[in-house]
Amino acid sequence: MTEPTGPQIGVTLYSFTNEWLSRRFDLDGLMHEVANRGLGPNIEIIGFQNFKEFPDVSDGFAEGFKQLVAQTGLNPVSLAINSDRFLRPGQQPVEDDFLVEYHKRQLRSAKKLGFSLVRYQFALPVHLLADIAPYAEELGVRMGVEVHAPMWAGHPAVLAYREMYDKLDSPVLGWIPDFGGTATRIPPSLLDAARAAGAKESLITLVQQIWPEPVPSHEKAAKLFEHARRDGHEPAHIQAAALAFFILANNDPKSWAEMVDRTIHIHGKFYGVSEDLVEEAVPYDVILPLFRDGGFTGTIVSEWEGHAYCEADAFEQVRRHQAMCRKILAG
């Protein structure tokens, strides 16, 4: 196989959450559909979404998955694992030893299933990396922490991880940028969904006013709830509109340049790509050249998250997103 010379294109099956939850496809059917539509071959899978035996997959299950991979010709590049530290709601987080083992179980499953890269999360306290990274090195599995909204290159958690990465100097540790943290506006499709759910125009205006304010996302969300309740908006409408504060942030898209060197994989988060190949909220024309010109040769998986508020055709959205990425990368 020749070494890639630039960013590769792929898709995360998370894009098809609506099709999955509604039981329109099982895993066999979904992977064949992705392959038949030419949306692969590179794919990401969330272990806890698509694998019933996760976090501990049996040998037989892993063998079945490998056969499916061979049949479809897909390339399993990334397995999203979860850093579930808050397993007892309202109580203390789980013990460090439990959380370390919880990651090792998922890393073992990744290896067994044929993945050589996992996505993990900032819910893992940074000091525990010293216990987990050597195990990932033994397995030969790379680990990328997902830099997801509201985080970005300059966020304190990212800086703490950067310091630990420097200290451990492990070849398996890296970043997985998620572009939702550097959106230029709230997706109009999200606001339209809130309107369709009954939200009044005054609530939409309020969300748009608060969203760009330069304060932490949770403070903006709290402000929206306070003002919207005061103005008498219904809780269900506020909930629909407030989604914008939890999945998107408006950090500087050019700030990704600081992370390119340690980026091992990318979540190409998007909400709606038009027929003329323009994404409505994330400025791909600004972001993608940073990674291309910075020498990134991993995979950008198309991650359509419009399913959090609408039922548009996910397959068509992914097709457009991949076409847009190819066009920008070639430019």
Partner: protein, 126 residues
């Protein structure tokens, strides 16, 4: 209603001995341990049901609602239904009832987040 908002399962309502069984779906995009799931209420024909003896049944397991919070290593596969067994119910097979379910989830990698879900449907007892 989006697929992720669905909490009353496709299998609906059925009778099992002296109990009613209600199919439930997990309102999240991924599997979660049962410890992060809270069955917060059931109403049948407008009356709130006492859940003291209710049990959650999944893949051969059966837990009381009080035991659910300790199940940090039993995962509800997001594509499956789990079942809520309500003992001592007299609704006849074939009869129709207005059912409301409240089911809350607390995603275990987002501290403090609790997502409340409510769904009502008219269901025939199978």
């Amino acid at each position: 209603m989006l697929p992720v908002e669905r909490i009353i399962g496709e299998e609906g309502l059925s009778r099992s001995g002296n109990a009613l069984r209600l199919a439930m779906r997990l309102p999240w995009y991924r599997s979660l341990p049962f410890s992060t799931v809270e069955v917060a209420g059931v109403e049948i024909d407008g009356a709130a049901i006492d859940l003291a003896d209710a049990r959650v049944e999944y893949e051969g397991h059966s837990w009381s609602l009080a035991e659910l919070g300790e199940q940090i290593d039993a995962f509800w596969f997001v594509r499956d239904s789990a079942f809520l067994a309500l003992p001592g119910r007299s609704e006849a097979v074939g009869s129709e009832h207005a059912v409301t379910l409240l089911l809350h989830v607390s995603p275990p990698y987002i501290p403090g987040m609790k997502r409340a879900n409510r769904q009502s449907a008219t269901l025939r007892v199978n």
